[in-house]
C-alpha cells in the first residue's frame, strides 16, 4: 500500500481517537517524535511502510493516552523537583496513559501491546545508574500484571528490591484514572479541585480557566502524583543518591578523573560526562571504599545532573533507529544514557518554547479557523452527482 494512503489512514485514526484534541500526523524521514506544542505526531516513514498502520496506531494510541490524562507537569512539586523527578514521572506515567487508553478504547490495547513487544525486544540494556534502571523498570511495568518488565535484563539487586518495594504504589499510580464514562459528581470535583489540586499548581497554570472534564483529569493526576511523591520518589531518590556516591567514589580514585569531571561540568557536555563516569557502573561491586569528600560529591552530583539532562532531552517517541528503540513509548533509552555520543540531542525547552506550549492550543485553533476561512468554497450550482447506490448495499 502506498505511504500516502497509509498516512491518511493513520491521520484518520488520530483524528478519531483524539476526538476534539486535534492531533495531526505528519511523515518524518528519520525518527518518531511528538510535538506537544503543535500537536503533531511525526511518524517515521520507513516504519509506516514496513510495520504498517496497526503498529503506528499503537504508538499513536500511547500518545493519545498521554495527551488525555498526563498532567503532572502542571504541579509545582514537579517543576521544583528538577530533571530526576520528571524522568521518574515520565517513566511511571507510561503505564497509566496506556491503562487509560485501554479503558477508553479496548481495541487499542492490542495495538499498544504490539508496540511494547517490539520495543522490549529491540531495546538493548547496558550499564547505567541504578536510578535509570529503576525508571526503565517502571516504564516497562515491572511486577505489574500482564507485563514482562525487566525480564531478560540483569538489573542490580538494589534496583530489583526498589521495584519490588514500589510495586503496590506504581500499581496504584497506574490506575488513578478518571472514569471512562465521564460520570463524576460535579460538586465533589469542584470542591477537591479548588481545595487540593489548584493550590498545588504552578502560578501560570492557575490562571488558565478549565472546564469540568479537565478538572476531573487534573484531580486524578493529582491523586496519582501524591502516590508517586510519597511512595515511589523516596525510593528513587535513594537510588539516585547511591549513584552519586558511587560516581564520587570513582572520581576520587584518581586526581585526573576529578579534573576531567569538573571540566565536563564547566563545559556542560553531557556526552563527556557520560563517557567519563561509564566505568563507575561497569563494576559489579556494590560496595564503596572510603567515603568520598564533599568536592567529589558535588562534582558527581553535577555530572549526574548532566547525564540525566540527556534523558529528558530525548523526544517522547524516541528515535526510529532500530538499535535505539528503547525510548519509543517514552521510556528511557538506557544504552544511550552512557553511550559515546548522542547525535540527536535535544535541549531543555527555552522560555520561547515554554511560552509557545502554553498558547499552542489557541494558535492551533486560530490557524484552523484561518484555513477554514481561506478554503475556496464551491457554489451550489457546481454540485454534481449523487452518492453511489453501492454505498448503501452491503452484506451483513
Amino acid at each position: 500500500m502506498k505511504t500516502d494512503v497509509l498516512l491518511r489512514q493513520l491521520a484518520s485514526l488520530a483524528a478519531g481517537l483524539c476526538q476534539d484534541a486535534r492531533v495531526s500526523v505528519s511523515l518524518s524521514l528519520d525518527r518518531w517524535a511528538y510535538d506537544p506544542a503543535r500537536r503533531i505526531l511525526y511518524v517515521r516513514e520507513r516504519e509506516l511502510r514496513t510495520r504498517g498502520v496497526v503498529y503506528c496506531a499503537g504508538c499513536l494510541a500511547h500518545e493519545v493516552g498521554h495527551h488525555l490524562v498526563s498532567r503532572y507537569g502542571l504541579f509545582e512539586w514537579v517543576a521544583g523537583g528538577g530533571v530526576p523527578v520528571r524522568i521518574l514521572l515520565n517513566a511511571i506515567e507510561d503505564p497509566r496513559a496506556e491503562t487509560w487508553v485501554g479503558m477508553r478504547y479496548p481495541g487499542a490495547r492490542e495495538w499498544v501491546a504490539q508496540v511494547r513487544e517490539v520495543v522490549d525486544r529491540n531495546a538493548a540494556v547496558g550499564p547505567m545508574p541504578d536510578f535509570l534502571w529503576f525508571c526503565l523498570g517502571c516504564a516497562r511495568r515491572d511486577g505489574l500484571p500482564g507485563s514482562r518488565g525487566l525480564e531478560g535484563s540483569d538489573p542490580p539487586a538494589a534496583v530489583r528490591r526498589a521495584l519490588e518495594e514500589t510495586r503496590a504504589a506504581r500499581s496504584e499510580y497506574a490506575v488513578a484514572l478518571p472514569p471512562g464514562s465521564g460520570a463524576v459528581s460535579a460538586a465533589e470535583v469542584q470542591r477537591r479541585y479548588r481545595g487540593q489540586v489548584w493550590p498545588q499548581m504552578s502560578a501560570a497554570d492557575q490562571e488558565v480557566p478549565v472546564g469540568h472534564w479537565e478538572e476531573v483529569v487534573r484531580l486524578f493526576a493529582y491523586d496519582a502524583l501524591m502516590a508517586a511523591k510519597d511512595e515511589v520518589w523516596p525510593t528513587a531518590l535513594r537510588l539516585l543518591e547511591g549513584d552519586v556516591r558511587r560516581i564520587a567514589a570513582f572520581l576520587s580514585e584518581a586526581p585526573g578523573l576529578m579534573e576531567a569531571g569538573k571540566r565536563a561540568v564547566v563545559v556542560a557536555n553531557p556526552d563527556l560526562a557520560a563517557n567519563l563516569i561509564r566505568p563507575a557502573f561497569l563494576s559489579l561491586a556494590d560496595g564503596i571504599g572510603a567515603p568520598p569528600g564533599q568536592e567529589a560529591l558535588d562534582t558527581a552530583e553535577a555530572l549526574m545532573r548532566l547525564l540525566l539532562s540527556l534523558q529528558v532531552a530525548v523526544p517522547i517517541m524516541g528515535d526510529g533507529d532500530d538499535s535505539s528503540r528503547g525510548g519509543a513509548l517514552g521510556a528511557l533509552p538506557p544504552h544511550r544514557a552512557l553511550g559515546p555520543t548522542s547525535p540527536r540531542r535535544r535541549f531543555a525547552p527555552d522560555s520561547y518554547r515554554v511560552a509557545l506550549a502554553r498558547v499552542a492550543g489557541q494558535v492551533g485553533e486560530l490557524c484552523a479557523a484561518i484555513e477554514e476561512v481561506l478554503r475556496p468554497r464551491r457554489r451550489l450550482t457546481e454540485r454534481t452527482g449523487y452518492s453511489r447506490a453501492t454505498e448503501w448495499t452491503c452484506g451483513d
Partner: protein, 239 residues
C-alpha cells in the same frame, strides 16, 4: 412574510444557507432597522416606510448549519452582518451522543444546565424501548457514542474518509445512530433466538462499514470500531 410583518408574526427561516443567495438578498430590506418590503411580485404595495405599518413585535429568525455541510452556500459578510443576534451551537460530543442514545432506548432525558442552573431531565416514551432490557445495552450505547464521535471527527478532518478523487466527504449524522438502533430492534423482534450482539454487529456493518467507498476507508472505520470495542476484530464492552 407580509402577513407576519403586519400581524405581529414571528418568521423562522430554517436552513437559511440552503437557499440561493439571490433569494436571500430579497430579504435585505426586511432586515434593516426599519423593515420595509415592496411587494413587486404582487401589487407593488409596500409594508413599512409609509406603506402598511410593520407591527412592532414582528421578529425574524433563521437557522443554518455550517457552510461545509453539503449543499450550503456561504453567506456574504454583508448579509451575515444584517443578522444581529447570533447563537452558535457546538457540534455534539460523545456525552451528547450518549445522552441521545439513552433517550432513544431508555426514554431518559439528560440533565441540562442553562446559565448555570441545572434542570433535571424527565422520562419520556423511548423510540427504541424494546432494546432497554438487553443485558449490557447501556455499555454498548456508550461504545457506540464514542465510536460515532470518533468517526465523525475522522470524517470532519477530511484526511482519510471520503472519495479523494471525487472530493466527496463522508458525513455520519445522527440518523445513522437511529438507523442502527431501529435495525437492532427489528432483528430482536423478528429473530428472537439470535443474540442481540449479532444484530448489533449486523447493524454496524450495514450502516457504518457498508458506507465505506473503498477498502482503505473500510479499514479506518473497522479500526475505529475495534478501538471502541464494537468492531469486527474486537468486541469488548467497557464500562
Amino acid at each position: 412574510m407580509p402577513q407576519a410583518m403586519i400581524e405581529r408574526g414571528w418568521v423562522i427561516l430554517d436552513e437559511l444557507n440552503l437557499a440561493e443567495p439571490q433569494i436571500l438578498e430579497r430579504l435585505n430590506s426586511v432586515l434593516e432597522d426599519h423593515p420595509y418590503l415592496l411587494r413587486t411580485e404582487h401589487d407593488n404595495s409596500a409594508i413599512g416606510r409609509g406603506g402598511a405599518p410593520v407591527h412592532p413585535d414582528f421578529r425574524i429568525f433563521a437557522t443554518m448549519n455550517p457552510a461545509e455541510y453539503a449543499g450550503r452556500s456561504v453567506l456574504s459578510p454583508a448579509y451575515r452582518d444584517r443578522w444581529r443576534g447570533y447563537r452558535f451551537v457546538p457540534s455534539p460530543g460523545e456525552a451528547e451522543y450518549r445522552a441521545l442514545l439513552r433517550r432513544l432506548v431508555f426514554g431518559v432525558d439528560p440533565e441540562v444546565s442553562v446559565r448555570g442552573r441545572a434542570y433535571r431531565g424527565g422520562v419520556g416514551v423511548p423510540v427504541c424501548g424494546s432494546l432497554a432490557a438487553l443485558p449490557g445495552i447501556d455499555r454498548f450505547l456508550g461504545a457506540l457514542a464514542r465510536f460515532h464521535c470518533s468517526l465523525e471527527e475522522a470524517a470532519r478532518s477530511g484526511v482519510g474518509l471520503g472519495d479523494h478523487r471525487r472530493r466527496e466527504k463522508q458525513v455520519f449524522s445522527r440518523r445513522v445512530l437511529l438507523s442502527v438502533l431501529r435495525y437492532m430492534g427489528a432483528v430482536c423482534a423478528n429473530l428472537p433466538g439470535l443474540p442481540w450482539e449479532t444484530g448489533a454487529r449486523r447493524a454496524l456493518n450495514r450502516y457504518y462499514l457498508g458506507r465505506a467507498t473503498c477498502g482503505d476507508e473500510r479499514e479506518v472505520v473497522a479500526r475505529l470500531l475495534d478501538a471502541a470495542g464494537i468492531g469486527p476484530g474486537v468486541w469488548e464492552l467497557s464500562q
